[in-house]
């Protein structure tokens, strides 16, 4: 199965901090299949705050968000939107 992915840049001044990670995880948790965050050669489970935090994403980091099921396209769009909008910060 083809995976769908989008690459985004963390723009909010605080990076991917605990509360931002919590918001990502909440959205990713609704996906039907797995959701991954990939930075360089690290890949973490987007439904886990702890896993997201271990990426230690500072502002400016480039991330790839990946979903594996076509029905998760909407989830992917929402995740991208959260990051692009800087988590509303």
């Amino acid at each position: 199965m083809d995976s769908l992915s989008r690459t985004v840049r963390i723009i909010n001044p605080l990076g991917l901090h605990a509360r931002a990670a919590a918001r990502l995880a909440a959205v990713a948790g609704r996906a039907a299949g797995p959701v991954w965050l990939i930075r360089a050669d690290e890949r973490v489970d987007a439904t886990s705050i702890i896993d997201i935090l271990t990426l230690a994403c500072l502002p400016g980091s480039v991330l790839t968000i990946e979903v594996h099921r076509p029905e998760d396209q909407a989830i992917l769009d929402q995740l991208v939107q959260l990051v692009v909008e800087g988590f509303g910060e």
């Binding site: 901090h17 509360r19 271990t54």
Partner: protein
């Protein structure tokens, strides 16, 4: 049975976080059960029960957090935002899911599985170089502790239910803990962790309760209901005091309370030396609530409003309106009295947790205070606009920290002008016509004082940093701490240069470091020409009293003598010979002798 007879007296030394003396019974609020976690293996038929037990403990932790969040008073709501994240963490795959998997696969008890998983998570976070992300491990540990407590069934000591007046002993007090305390039940604080800038320290000082923090192992040495003496002035805790010690300290405590009451009665009167020099005593504050304390202690205004607190313990930078709102509160309460707002001074011991770009090996010499602000003009201007808006409501002065040269003060002033212009364009009421000052706390600023004096309306001498930078010592390093002394001849000469230049140019001048809070230094400061001193609110009455006992002329004579001396010891001896008795007898009772 008196514990004083069955145990030998022990003295524990920590950080003097809030002055005063209290004597009472210890009340431990620590996670005691956590250390006694045992490992045992499960029979196959026990696994599903163990899993339900773990789920129930998590559910209970979630309920508890809901209660804490619901009961958090409005003024502490900011702190509870992190509790929401804790709730999500409870169910995190890497914690919740992994523990369930470990119970199932390894057939071990839930406590041990939890401990194991948390240890693995800690190992990952400990390797991180960025301090913000590294410290997120604390959040995970707090959450895990809460689950563990429920598993063990250990009665979590409910701080909210303390029914007698006690001395609180804790490893560390989290904002969740402090928001539950019924503070009228607390006599004093003792903690293993934390320093003068910690949440507990600030709360203790605001409430004027004695506190000794950073004792490392107090929770291990002190038992529930042990009799303890907390001497928050000396930074000492006496455990199992002997009869004689109890008597001595009871007397001291009474004298200290009496002294406080006595000088407070007179603290509203102006402070004038015997030869008629009027001294203005101002308060250093950090929280809006401390304003009341400044007025209660007879302060003539705010000499140093530290603004870092609104930037700490939170995930986002505060916006202009929020800052304006806080500043305006302070300004309005103070009425016509001056309020000196120091712009953001982020540094080593006050790292803004959410700004992950500020990790540095040597923060005291790094991107802090004005340097940080000049690099982040938008963050800086947000604060400046808030200050200018608050200035429309009272007597505001703006103070720039860590200025080291002409370019910085010029750049800071330019941004202040820009901020004013932005407000004018947006037709927002504000007042640009306020005194602009700089902290003199970097040695280069002392040397360039004759140039810098042309660019500001006032100098504020910050002795703590000035000593640290002049003597090249890290205040936190015990091996060199003995070199940290405000009466060092080098420091006196530096202050002398600054005061001479300021007085000659007739700009404003004040001192706001710890040097200004010690009554013994008052004559020398008067001799240096300082007539405006800013300090912790609780120190104001003692300083005012000392001012009334001495004369400025004697202070000038003392300064001349001191300037001839070569060693810090000689200066200390001279000042002590001249004024030590006066301070010890009139101000402290025999408190001076205990130092």
């Amino acid at each position: 049975m008196m514990s004083a007879e069955t145990f030998s007296e022990q003295r524990l030394y920590g950080i003097a976080a809030s002055p005063g003396i209290c004597i009472g019974k210890a009340y431990l609020v620590d996670r005691e059960g956590v250390q006694v976690v045992q490992k045992y293996e499960l029979r196959p038929d026990e696994v599903s029960h163990e899993i339900s037990r773990f789920k129930a403990a998590v559910k209970k932790a979630d309920d508890e957090l809901n209660v804490v969040i619901a009961n958090t008073p409005e003024e502490l709501k900011q702190n509870s935002a992190i509790l929401e994240a804790h709730k999500v963490l409870l169910k995190d795959k890497l914690l919740y899911g992994k523990v369930l998997g470990t119970i199932e696969n390894e057939r071990i008890n839930a406590e041990w599985a939890l401990k194991k998983v948390v240890a693995e998570i800690n190992a990952i976070f400990n390797q991180m170089t960025d301090s913000y992300f590294r410290e997120r491990a604390d959040d995970i540990n707090h959450v895990a502790d809460r689950i563990l407590q429920n598993l063990i069934g250990a009665q979590r000591k409910n701080i909210g239910a303390i029914d007698k007046r006690v001395i609180l002993v804790a490893r560390d007090l989290s904002p969740a803990d402090t928001s539950q305390i019924q503070l009228e039940r607390i006599k004093g604080f003792i903690t293993d962790k934390g320093g003068r800038a910690s949440h507990t320290s600030i709360i203790a000082r605001t409430l004027e309760l004695p506190a000794v923090l950073g004792l490392h192992d107090a929770t291990r040495r002190i038992g529930n209901d042990d009799i303890v003496i907390v001497d928050g002035t000396a930074g000492m805790v006496i455990l199992h005091p002997a009869e004689q010690t109890l008597l001595t300290y009871e007397e001291r405590r009474e004298r200290y309370e009496g002294y406080k009451a006595q000088i407070r009665r007179r603290s509203h009167l102006p402070a004038e030396t015997r030869d008629g020099v009027h001294v203005r005593t101002l308060g250093n504050i950090e929280l809006t609530e401390e304003v009341v304390s400044v007025l209660d202690h007879g302060g003539d205004g705010i000499g140093l409003y530290r603004t870092e607190f609104q930037y700490m313990n939170r995930k986002e930078f505060p916006d202009e309106f929020e800052l304006y709102d806080k500043y305006r509160d302070v300004v309005e309460v103070m009425g016509p009295r001056p309020v000196t707002i120091r712009t953001l001074d982020i540094n080593g011991d006050k790292a803004v947790a959410f700004a992950p770009d500020n990790y540095e090996a040597n923060p005291a010499l790094g991107l802090r205070a004005i340097r940080y602000c000049l690099k982040k003009p938008e963050i800086f201007k947000t604060q400046l606009r808030a200050i200018l808006r608050a200035a429309a409501h009272g007597n505001v002065r703006v103070l720039f920290p860590m200025i080291s040269g002409q370019e910085e003060i010029v750049a800071a002033r330019r941004l202040l002008d820009e901020a004013a212009l932005e407000l004018s364009r947006a037709k927002v009421p504000h007042n640009r016509d306020i005194p602009v000052g700089m902290m003199v706390e970097v040695p280069s600023a002392v040397i360039m004082a004759d140039v810098l004096v042309r660019h500001v309306d006032f100098f504020s001498i910050g002795t703590n940093d000035l000593i640290q930078y002049t003597m090249a010592i890290d205040r936190g390093n015990q091996d060199v701490a003995h070199l940290f002394h405000p009466l060092h001849p080098a420091l006196i000469r530096m202050v002398h240069r600054v005061t001479q230049i300021a007085l000659e140019a007739q700009i404003g001048l004040d001192m706001c470091g710890e040097m200004a809070a010690d009554p013994l230094n008052v004559p020398l400061l008067l001799g240096l020409g300082l007539t405006e001193l800013s300090m912790a609110p609780a120190s104001i009455p003692g300083i005012k009293r000392m001012v009334r006992l001495v004369s400025a002329a004697d202070g000038q004579a003392l300064l001349q003598d001191v300037l001839r001396l070569e060693k810090v010891r000689d200066v200390v001896r001279l000042v002590d010979e001249a004024y030590g008795q006066l301070v010890a007898q009139k101000v402290y009772g025999d408190m001076g002798a205990s130092k």
